[in-house]
């Protein structure tokens, strides 16, 4: 089907698409710039903390979204990769004095390899069987770390106090550098998603999600596609774990590998819009401040009010906006086109 002369409709469509992609990038740049300016206005340390966590979970959920949202493999065990990143960085730094920057990459690589090794058997499983297997594997990881003295067992590992320093990622006095690190991580995961979306993997992942049989008939290597998504997703999740370890400067199994982390990585994407470019960020921007603020103000003394608000919110969004909050805008855009 190679014709020398392209129909005008083809060129028009290509141009429209190219400008839409360019506009997305420009808008993203403006949003990133606006977010980068936030610390100028938010001086309260507690609120800065909330901002940092929001950006971190936006980045984590963006990573989860690659496997869960685009490729449709609902992992509820990403806490494992988060933990690997946190522990690899911490152990290398605390025990061997290796720079956290290197430890971060080492943890990312370990997670990617682990995701490939686990994907080998797990990607044969479908639907709920897959999701439950991911929960179980993460739980085994948690139990093993709990009983692994080298990793500090249940007590965990404390980062030593040092001077504020980008080389060791330690900032005890001023939390703003963590803000910029988290923002940087989010921008990287966003850009990775942006570029992969318009690439072979991006299309193949969505095809695998929608209908693996039809995908295979069109030349999509289904298993390899899932493996690629798992490795990329695990890599960035581990980077997030490494950042978290540096940020809180103390890790133990429950604080980095508990099931709730797996949930917290999936939820923003689901809330904002699964398999979309901005879904995880929008979801995190709503979910994380609500979680943190209700925990501080309503969760005091373990009254459970924070859980009541949080649980109701998840339920309402899942029922009222199954395609995520972003679908509100998409629907209005469609009706504009129609009119």
């Amino acid at each position: 089907m190679t014709s020398a002369v392209l129909p005008n409709s083809v060129l028009a469509n290509e141009n429209a698409f190219a400008s839409r992609r360019r506009n997305q990038l420009i808008i993203a740049g403006l949003i990133f710039a606006a977010v980068a300016a936030l610390p100028r206005f938010v001086t309260d340390v507690y609120m800065q903390n909330v901002l940092i966590l929001t950006l971190m979970f936006a980045a984590l959920s963006q990573s989860w979204n690659i496997l869960g949202g685009y490729c449709g493999q609902i992992s509820l065990g990403h806490a494992l990769y988060f933990g690997v990143g946190a522990y690899a960085t911490t152990v290398l730094f605390v025990k061997y004095g290796v720079s956290p920057w290197f430890g971060m990459l080492a943890g990312g690589a370990m997670s990617a390899v682990l995701a490939l090794a686990l994907g080998w058997p797990c990607f044969r499983l479908k639907g709920h069987y897959f999701s439950i297997a991911t929960i179980v594997i993460a739980e085994i990881g948690l139990l093993l770390v709990h009983n692994w003295d080298y990793l500090g067992g249940a007590l965990g590992i404390q980062w030593p106090f040092g001077p504020d320093n980008w080389a060791t990622l330690q900032f005890a006095r001023d939390k703003i550098p963590y803000f910029y690190f988290a923002l940087g991580l989010f921008i990287v995961t966003w850009l990775v998603t942006y570029f992969i979306e318009e690439s072979r993997w991006g299309y193949w992942w969505r095809a695998v999600k929608d209908n693996p049989e039809a995908a295979a008939s069109l030349g999509v290597t289904v298993f390899e596609s899932k493996m690629a998504a798992a490795a990329i997703s695990a890599f960035f999740t581990a980077i997030g774990g490494a950042f978290y370890a540096a940020f809180v400067a103390y890790i133990d199994p429950e604080s980095v590998m508990a099931f709730r982390f797996s949930l917290l990585m999936a939820l923003p994407a689901v809330l904002g819009g699964i398999g979309t470019l901005w879904g995880p960020a929008v979801g995190a921007a709503i979910l994380i401040p609500i979680t943190e603020i209700t925990r501080s103000y309503a969760g005091g003394g373990g009254s459970g009010l924070d859980l009541i608000i949080y649980g109701t919110l998840i339920m309402v969004v899942a029922l009222a906006k199954p395609e995520g909050i972003l679908s509100i805008f998409r629907r209005s855009a469609k009706s504009e086109n129609a009119s």
């Binding site: 392209l6 129909p7 698409f17 690439s199 049989e213 295979a216 008939s217 030349g219």
Partner: protein, 244 residues
Amino acid sequence: MSAEPILKVENVTRRFGGLVANSGVNVEVRQGEILGLIGPNGAGKSTLFNLIAGAFPPSEGKFIFEGKDITNLSAPRRCQLGIARTFQVPKSFDTMTVIENVIVGGFVRHPGAAAARRAALEVLDFAALSHRANSPASELTPPEKRRLEVARALATQPRLLLLDEVMTGLTPSEARLGVDLVKRVRDQGVTVVMVEHVMEIVMPLVDRAVVLDLGRVLAEGTPAEVVRDPRVITAYLGERHRAA
């Protein structure tokens, strides 16, 4: 037309548990022809079709595509070699737009997204779906979904296209558009194998027909030869009796 057949089905048998769906099937598909695969319900057409596409392996026998044994190759690998298919029940990617559906197929020939997109736009033009390019696939009408199936398969630039009941359920005017599309595909040099249940539509379109019954090849030849064959008449009459 070259002498060497594009696809040889050699002595293929497929069992499902105790059930024999295909038994000792031998078929040759000639370069550049439109071959109809027909037969009453339960004749084993769909099984043979899925076996050629690589959806599952045969119990016995071989498939030779362009002189190469493809029996043990996966569906994606066969697609890379130049075999594409459609599905009887359309399996569109429903969270994607029409053009995105077609782009998926384009990546087998074009590593880059821009080239795959351009190829997809051309295919959509060819399949008269350009006006729907940016619609979600889930919003297509049933006949449009069938054309999307064909367009997606064409995007993989096949040399052998397998069409599974693409005319079923179409109104006469929609079916005419479908027939026209199949002819234009063949004119591009693509060999076509089509499974059809409705004899009235297939017979004027195909160059040759293979009739399956009870998992075996019952008759083979030009449409005129086949419809005169007493065994074919009996098989179809028998079905009408069963259906009645």
